[in-house]
């Protein structure tokens, strides 16, 4: 154990020192040749260093505990320093490095086949018996690459030999294998988000070498990771990856790290504003994002009407968001795929960590299932005590309100063999709230998944995913005066999926993925039940909606040349809307409405009501240039057969899902994107420019005054629309240094058009109009500053165009009351949105071996109290009597118009 700490410390030390050492290597000769003199019999090694420091102004850097018990017995007379140190450390477990022109770093020697990680040139690993040197021309090197922190295998890590261009990637179990000429080599081992390891090896004969990589975040001054993921193709673009550390560093409301709010800071990703659940990618609706948690979809991604994401941030390993160039193995939604990978659990130690906030708390426990076993578990949960706080208040408005949530998650990672793992995941959540009203909202998710990864052979990998997701919503409508009319409204859906991917790696230039997916949906669009007895309420249920979505896919990740990578894929989507059900036939000469029904057809259980099918080509190309730059382009087509039906600006938990059917056609999106990417100054900076264009077919719009809840013929209130989106995304990030962060700017437009035959189905006279998510300008800035080893400051600033809004343009009097006539839909725009948040964190003490480690985060959301518009509306008068309020006016509502401070205590045990 002690050795492990030593190793980690040495890595940190190395990371701090070797960079400078490399830059002064050419000048290091002077210090090495410094002639030293002195008698050092029975002298403590530390005293020796101090003497040299004093007399020759040569500084030594070391950890005191390494040298405190070491004595030396050596005299020097005009001895070069390098020779002296060689004598001293020859039989020691320590070694040394020179850096700058006046310093020496002392650190432990590697004692086994594993390497010291970090930047630099650790010791050479000898593979094979030295007696066999020269016997073979080439040899096969294989081994495993693991996360040095928890020994978890890293799938997709790259092992590369720059001299020959030979390289390979690790399989799902972190194993690699490649053939190299025998001799001395320097291998580069890399994995996204981890320090690149340059390792010298002496390859004598075929053998094994395992490597450990460490997250970049282990370094104090590094914060973030974006780039290519394990599953991403080399040609992948339009992808955002955020790891758990960056999620936690962003200042957020309530001090609670938030996945979605972190992603929203990236280019091309926007949010409607406060109190908005979900996110919008490249102008798409919230329901056009597929959020997968270990492969299982999440149908409601927020707690407490959008203030919290539904996932415990402590349980998250990383989040990958595909905005474009979506791999063929993914379908279902047209805007984006967000893949949330939950942690497997720590394989070494049992760990407890969590946080205590002012209105909610969370905990996570992870560890190995048994000693010396690789199988691990993780369980976690969150809950809020806002209800209890409100009940203590004397304010009746608070006392009459309810707002609480809880969630629980767990993973079980079973290692069945060297190349065989099974991961089980479970998640449950529940939200309840009402805001001083008669309507109590109650909703929750129940999610589970099974992921079985197995290596069939060296070149064949099998990946099976079974997932289940259930979302239930209940509205409890109560009226104290008319209890006999109280009712419950229920909506929900169930989702089950089987997905199988077979990966074939015929050679280093190809990685072929093929597979299939079968999804079953069962939607409950609405059901009314009496809330008590006696009752006037009649139980009423809209027939459930059953459907099956089938997909088959294949893609090939091809290295065309050293500088060109191509990913070509094809997905076939087949959708079946199934009975039982009754489909109305409407008069083709009139708009669809309940009064234009001319016939109906009834379908029995399992009978196909409507089928849709289509091919979805995917292609991504990357051409690398000089100076760490690359040009990339991609095209994708995706069908979406499920829509969330909503005529509100902000998605509500009550909004139900609707599958494609006879009248609701599948959404089809074609997206083209091109981009230029650069990582200047050896990755210190990361820059990108992306341009995209999306063509959208069969979008859902709604007729004026549409009533969607409990509508047996919802198609009568739906209008078919088409649209397009385009945008320019700029991104610049500084990855390292005490001051780091990023700036992203997006210019984008999202337009809609109804081009239908009947007047009732036309919006804005068939002209293009902006969608409610059209926010042309969006600037996000994130800044982190490591004030000291323990104090850290973070701040972010967002500036975005206001979203489109419909405003009253004319007025008239009816029955003595002033009524307004609204403008064309989304003709006007809200004031610009801007906000600054800051936080300061006192991190745990890294040096002390404490069992209990804690950190404090103090944050202020909306630092300068900007009253950003949540909604603009017209009304007769205010519900709360206030001075200077008059009737009949346009009002602007700000949800968070004040700075909101919070403090959170996070702990580890």
């Amino acid at each position: 154990m002690k050795k492990k700490y030593i190793l980690i410390f040495s890595k940190l030390l190395f990371a701090a020192g070797v960079f400078m050492f490399l830059h002064v290597k050419s000048n290091a000769q002077n210090i090495q040749e410094t002639l030293i003199n002195g008698k050092f019999q029975k002298t403590n090694m530390e005293d020796f260093f101090k003497t040299i420091d004093k007399e020759y102004n040569i500084h030594f850097y070391y950890k005191q505990e390494w040298v405190k018990s070491r004595l030396i017995n050596q005299d020097f007379k005009n001895t070069p320093l390098i020779q002296a140190l060689n004598l001293l450390f020859d039989q020691q477990s320590l070694t040394f490095k020179f850096f700058q022109n006046n310093s020496v770093v002392i650190y432990p020697k590697a004692s086994d086949g594993k390497t010291l990680s970090g930047i630099g040139e650790p010791s050479i690993i000898v593979i094979g018996d030295p007696l066999n040197q020269g016997r073979y021309n080439s040899a096969r090197l294989k081994g495993k690459i693991v996360d040095g922190k928890n020994n978890e295998p890293l799938a997709g890590a790259v092992v590369f030999h720059p001299q020959t261009g030979i390289g390979t990637t690790t399989n799902a179990f972190g194993n690699y294998e490649l053939e190299l000429p025998t001799g001395d080599h320097t291998l580069q081992i890399s994995f996204m988000g981890y320090e690149i390891l340059s390792q010298k090896i002496k390859l004598i004969e075929s053998g094994k070498a395992d490597f450990e990589l460490f997250e970049e975040t282990h370094k104090l001054d590094e914060i973030t990771i974006t780039g290519e993921s394990a599953k991403a193709s080399k040609a992948q673009m339009s992808m955002v990856k955020v790891n758990s550390r960056i999620i936690k560093e962003l200042p957020v409301m309530m001090g609670e790290a938030d996945i979605i709010k972190s992603v929203v800071m990236m280019p091309g990703v926007q949010s409607v504003g406060e109190m908005a659940s979900g996110f919008n990618v490249r102008g798409g609706n919230t329901d056009q994002n597929l959020v997968l948690m270990d492969g299982a979809p999440v149908f409601n991604t927020s707690h407490l009407f959008g203030f919290f994401s539904m996932i415990n941030p402590d349980a998250v390993q990383d989040v990958t968001l595909f905005k474009g160039g979506i791999p063929a193995s993914y379908g279902e939604r047209i805007s984006s795929i967000m893949e949330i990978k939950l942690k497997d659990g720590n394989s070494e130690n049992l760990k407890l960590y969590g946080g205590v906030g002012l209105i909610n708390s969370r905990f996570t426990l992870e560890g190995p299932l048994a000693k010396k076993k690789k199988s691990t578990f993780l369980i976690g949960g969150r809950t809020t005590y806002s209800d209890w706080i409100m009940r203590q208040s004397r304010n009746a408005q608070f006392m009459n309100s309810v707002a609480h949530f809880w969630d629980a998650n767990g993973t079980l990672n079973l290692v069945l063999g060297q190349n065989n793992t099974l991961k089980l995941m479970g998640y449950a959540s529940n939200d309840v709230f009402n805001l001083n009203s008669n309507s109590l909202y109650n909703y929750g998710n129940l999610i589970g998944s099974l992921n079985w990864k197995a290596g069939i052979s060296k070149k064949l990998l099998s990946n099976l995913n079974l997932s289940y997701s259930k979302y239930d919503f209940k509205l409890e409508q109560k009226d104290a005066d008319q209890t006999e009319n109280d009712y419950h409204l229920l909506t929900g859906l169930q989702y089950g999926s089987l997905k199988y991917i077979l990966s074939w790696l015929p050679n280093e230039k190809h990685r072929i993925n093929s597979g299939f997916q079968a999804i079953g949906y069962k939607i409950l669009p609405g059901e009314i039940r009496p809330a008590g007895s006696p009752t006037n309420v009649i139980t009423e249920k809209i027939s459930s909606d059953q459907s099956v979505e089938l997909g088959a896919f294949i893609d090939d990740d091809i290295d065309l040349s050293e500088s060109t990578a191509l990913n070509v894929g094809l997905r076939y989507a087949h959708f079946l809307n199934l009975g039982p059900g009754t489909v109305m036939k409407y008069d083709p000469n009139q708009t669809i409405s309940t009064t234009t029904v001319i016939d109906s057809t009834t379908y029995s259980s399992g009978e196909i009501i409507k089928a849709y099918k289509g091919f979805e080509p995917r292609i991504s190309l990357k051409i690398s240039g000089n100076n760490n730059s690359s040009f990339r382009l991609s095209y994708q087509r995706i069908h979406q057969f499920m829509n969330q039906v909503s005529n509100t600006s902000v998605m509500s938990p009550a909004d139900f899902w609707k599958s494609s059917d006879t009248y609701v056609k599948p959404l089809i999106s074609d997206q083209f994107a091109v981009g230029l990417f650069r990582t200047p100054r050896k990755g210190l900076y990361e820059t990108s420019v992306e341009v995209y264009y999306k063509n959208l077919q069969n979008l859902l719009e709604y007729k004026d005054g549409a009533v969607l809840v409990m509508n047996k013929h919802v198609e009568t209130d739906i209008i078919n629309a088409k649209g397009y989106s385009y945008g320019l995304e700029l991104f610049m990030k500084k990855n390292t240094g005490r001051l780091n962060g990023w700036v992203s700017y997006t210019y984008s437009r999202t337009m809609r058009k109804t081009d239908n035959k009947f007047d009732e189905d036309i919006i804005n006279a068939k002209r293009y109009y902006p969608s409610v998510y059209d926010k042309p300008h969006d600037l996000s800035t994130v800044l982190n500053y490591q004030i000291s080893r323990r104090w850290r400051f973070s701040g972010n600033f967002v500036l975005a165009s206001g979203r489109p809004v419909t405003l009253p343009e004319q007025k008239y009097v009816f029955d003595g009351k002033q009524v307004v006539y609204y403008s064309d839909r989304n003709k006007y725009r809200m004031p610009p949105y801007h906000r600054m948040d800051v936080s300061i964190t006192l991190d745990e003490n890294l040096r002390k071996k404490r069992m209990w480690k804690g950190s404090w985060t103090f944050s202020i959301y909306n630092l300068y109290g900007r009253k950003n518009a949540y909604s603009i509306f017209y009304r007769k008068d205010a519900s709360i009597q206030q001075v200077n309020k008059t009737t009949n006016a346009i009002y602007k509502l700000s949800v968070i118009g004040v700075p909101v401070p919070s403090i959170t205590y996070n702990f580890k045990f």
Binding site: M390, I538, G705, L807, E809, Y812, V813, K817, Y870, F873
Partner: protein, 364 residues
């Protein structure tokens, strides 16, 4: 001696938690917003009602104006208005005042009516509307209730205000011919003033009255969502405060009783949706999950030019007036009186008589 207020960590955390919950849930703030708005072409506004009571049949024509306009309403005088009754002749309306038209005929339940307007070389027409059956009330009663409203203090912190009131409620039967209703009301407060005693002269009492009108949103009701009930129960028409001083002009006036005049209209589903849309427009608060703003529906359109827009509604309502005498008692008890009045004399807005009861006066 001054006591220092002690704040420990627990108190600070506690208060901060409450503040944050408050911010999360209620600290939203509203302010006026005056965006630049385009000037738009004005549209024809049709406000019309046709009932079985000739005094309530009219058509008012005017034009819309820009949202910020402070000009008086522009009435339309050069229009011709016709009423088409199914199976009968066309009746042309008479313009009694600028833009105000009346019909010389009452509508009949069960018959279908269409409104046609000729204006500015265009023809506007309504959808045909079937007049509902005459509505009735099963029973009227009163209920004690604490009316809770919220006000804010100087710091913007909301606090609750309680006002005990007596609700006047009705149960309304539903039939296949009339399922939706609209109510308007007028409450006439009867008061008595007894002058100071004068040993030399008999000074008679004053019998006065004062009207309180319905200025709220449209009071509509109908068969409840998802219910199969054959009547509507507990529908509140108005609320009368026990504290009648707030309605009287002088502390020397003594409350005597209320004459509550209720106009009940049987309306169509389309009319219900029209009034409901206006109520929703007035009651919008921009809150969570509000629907996207929608235009108020209309059952009128321009026959000759589809691009011409028209706003308003042609209401064909059945009508029934109800009168009740009510004494509310007090918030702490007292006798509550309510009885039906079976006569319908006109009552001026306010006034008094000395030494004699007005002809409409009701006693308990």
């Amino acid at each position: 001696m001054k006591h220092k207020k002690k704040y420990n960590l627990k108190t600070i955390v506690w208060k901060t938690g409450q503040f944050i919950v408050g911010v999360l849930l209620f600290a939203s703030c509203e302010e006026y917003y005056t965006p630049d708005l385009d000037n738009a072409e004005s549209m024809l506004v049709v406000e019309s009602m046709l009932t079985n009571d000739i005094s309530k049949n009219f058509v008012k024509l005017s034009k819309t104006k820009d949202f910020y306009s402070t000009d008086p309403d522009e009435v339309i005088t050069d229009a011709k208005v016709d009423l088409l009754e199914s199976g009968s002749n066309t009746i042309t309306a008479i313009q009694e005042a600028n833009g105000y038209f009346t019909f010389s005929k009452v509508a009949v339940p069960g018959k279908t009516y269409t409104l046609r307007i000729y204006y500015d070389n265009q023809t506007y027409e309504s959808d045909p509307v079937v007049m509902p059956a005459i509505p009735t009330i099963d029973s009227l009663y009163t209920e004690h209730r604490i009316d809770k409203t919220y006000s804010t203090d100087a710091y913007g912190v909301p606090f609750e205000v309680e006002n005990p009131v007596r609700d006047v409620r009705v149960d309304v039967p539903i039939s296949a011919q009339v399922k939706y209703f609209r109510f308007t009301w007028r409450a006439v407060l009867e008061w008595i003033y007894l002058p100071p005693m004068n040993p030399f002269k008999v000074i008679p009492p004053y019998y006065g009255w004062k009207s309180k009108y319905d200025i709220g949103n449209f009071n509509i009701t109908g068969q409840g969502n998802y219910t199969g009930s054959s009547d509507i129960k507990n529908h509140t028409i108005l609320s009368l405060s026990y504290d009648t001083r707030q309605y009287l002009d002088s502390t020397s006036q003594d409350f005597y009783g209320w004459i509550v005049m209720i106009d009940q209209f049987g309306i169509t589903k389309d009319s219900y949706d029209f009034y409901d849309a206006i109520d929703k427009q007035f009651a919008a608060d921009g809150n969570l999950f509000d629907p996207i703003l929608a235009q108020i529906p209309t059952n009128l359109y321009c026959k000759t030019d589809k691009t011409k827009k028209v706003v308003g509604f042609f209401n064909v309502n059945s009508y029934h007036e109800h009168r009740y005498f009510i004494r509310t008692g007090s918030a702490y008890g007292g006798e509550v009186i309510q009885r039906k009045i079976n006569r319908y004399p006109d009552i001026p807005d306010n006034g008094y008589l000395i030494g004699e009861y007005p002809s409409f006066w009701e006693s308990y």
